[in-house]
Amino acid sequence: MKADDPRIHWIAEPKLGLAGSMYLPLVVGGLVTTAKHLLSPKVTVSYPDQEPEIANRSIYRGVHRLNRDGQGRVKCVACFLCATACPAHCIDIVGAESPWPDREKYPESFTIDELRCIYCGMCEEACPVDAIELTSLYNLTGRSREEMVFDKEKLLSVYDATHKQEPMRSAAHKGAP
């Protein structure tokens, strides 16, 4: 875009009046804001001594989990839509024929690099069977990069640890292909 493009709307800088050019009213205004916050209730928490409160766990985007179906098997059908949608390319899936007669395909391996992930939530949006969900676990730590690459078992264990306080968002939907 060039500077003489007709679509550019040029705005003139507003002229400062006497009060403005003295800066004093603005300084006072700033101090008033500071004083207001000094007296109002605190919103910061002293983490890690104090845990923050998450207002709505169902929309928080923390660590992923892989949901289980009614029979405790991984719900994922290895369609690769999460891996396709992922802008950070942090999901790696190996699909295979499932060992169960009522299901055709399942993920033989499913890994997410939690360090590479940008926690955008596109994977759970893309999932046609609601198998991948983001939980409200935010304090994720590890001692090595390898440890932060979560495999299928670890992602299922996140489900086991969180499904009581954060139920599956589509428990009613059972018809997984």
């Binding site: 290895a78 396709t84 018809g175 292909p177």
Partner: protein, 536 residues
Amino acid sequence: MATVIVDGQEVELPSGSALNGIQVAKQLGIEVPHYCWHPGLTVVASCRMCLVETGRRDPATGQITMMGKLSPACQTPATDGTVFVTNSEKVRAARAMVEEDLLIRHPVDCPICDKAGECHLQDYHFEHGRDQRRADIRPFTSRRRPVGDTVTLFVDRCVMCTRCVRFTREITGTSELMVINRGSHEEIDVFPGYPLANKLSGNVVDLCPVGALGDVDFLYQQRVWFMKRQPHVCAGCATGCSIFVEENQDRVYRLKPRENAAVNQWWMCDEGRYGFAHLHSPDRMTSPRRRGDSGWADVEWSQLVVELDQQLRAAGRFAVVLSPHLTVEEAYLLACYARSVDAQALIALGPVPTEGTDETFPQGFTISAEKCPNRQGVAAIVQHFQGSLLEFAELPARMAAEGVRSLWVSGGYKTDWPATAAIDFGSELRLLIVQDLFASPLWEQATFQLPGAAFAERAGSYVNRHDRLQSFAWAIRPPAGVMVEGQLYWRLLGRPGLYQAREVLHEVARELLYFAAASEPIAETGVDLKVLQLAK
């Protein structure tokens, strides 16, 4: 000359052309959706997806009379005065109705279906179907049964286009597949005890417009949208089918036939289709080595080029074996290099593996007995440089007679070197350079072992058994440690930069009369090298 009107636009067809409504519309860039029609098979007009309004223009008055009901475009010949309307409200309603009917019995298990992403049912439904399904049916898992070793059938995904049935009846002549039951219970099946077991069976998977026929070899290996299609030429036999190499991150997942009326039409054989496992074999050789006094030593390629050149020039008389797996360009470069080292260097054609006899199917598709892609092209180069065709079998005797001290053998064979025993090249031989994909007795004899490239990693041209030259670029990069033959020969000749197959082919076309027709830009379907020879 016939004038056909499609959606108000007039098309002039040359007289004698026998096109149907779908083909004529395609010439104007209008797609008439269809499932059962395929240009290589007979017309059954059973899917009803290509229903259009047809009519006729009176040549005398110019008056157009339309038919009262819709008719299938695939079955309506485009003759002079035929009128097609493919975008009217009536046609659109018919398409939506067909789509809705097909989806009543469809499992809609797209997330796990290998066809998803290249499925006609998905594409047409998106374009022509209703946005909501009125039938109260949930997605379900399709029933599945094997119909052969290479193909598995997902029964409920089928739309009963019967392309696969017609293929086994018309193209292979084996008639394994059939339709059982009637009405909405119709299913594809095989006769008990007679599975789909012909040498072209993989084609039914390509023909299937939906995900009903699955390729066992490819099943669940990769989602189709991750793969890139690279036009290439099959190296399985001397037929040289045009193919697509479908790869993702330098790994080949499947080979698909590419339409080429002059070579393979729409088909390819199973041997070629599934014959790429060697590309990613863990047994492939990946580091160049030199035999020294204290055993084998790895050598860097840049150092190797210098060393090879020095040793070959010092050794005296030189001979090279041009493998029929080399491209025309590579064979030419190696022959040029040999002659630059030794002006009388012997140039021989490598062993040509053959298996059985040529096998021709009813419609003319042939699987060649010669299991290498470029004997024709390499033989022409050997003949040009050597004066006559020096076969590999005659080489040891000629070498002994002429006192040859160094020999370069290029390979590229799918499995082992064709000869399993060690070959006696005489006591005079000081330097043996072997370039191949896999270890073999010959490989163990070598002074220099050079890992070579496989077909999908090469760039260049192959000449098939009917003298058709087809050019292609590389589809994947070779494994780490391998230098593609063309690049190595290019560097040995001291040419700057990267190996340019096209540049070399132009040089070949100028130098060799046989390749004269290849001087023009090569079409995707290749060029017939006999064209100019016949004119002479």
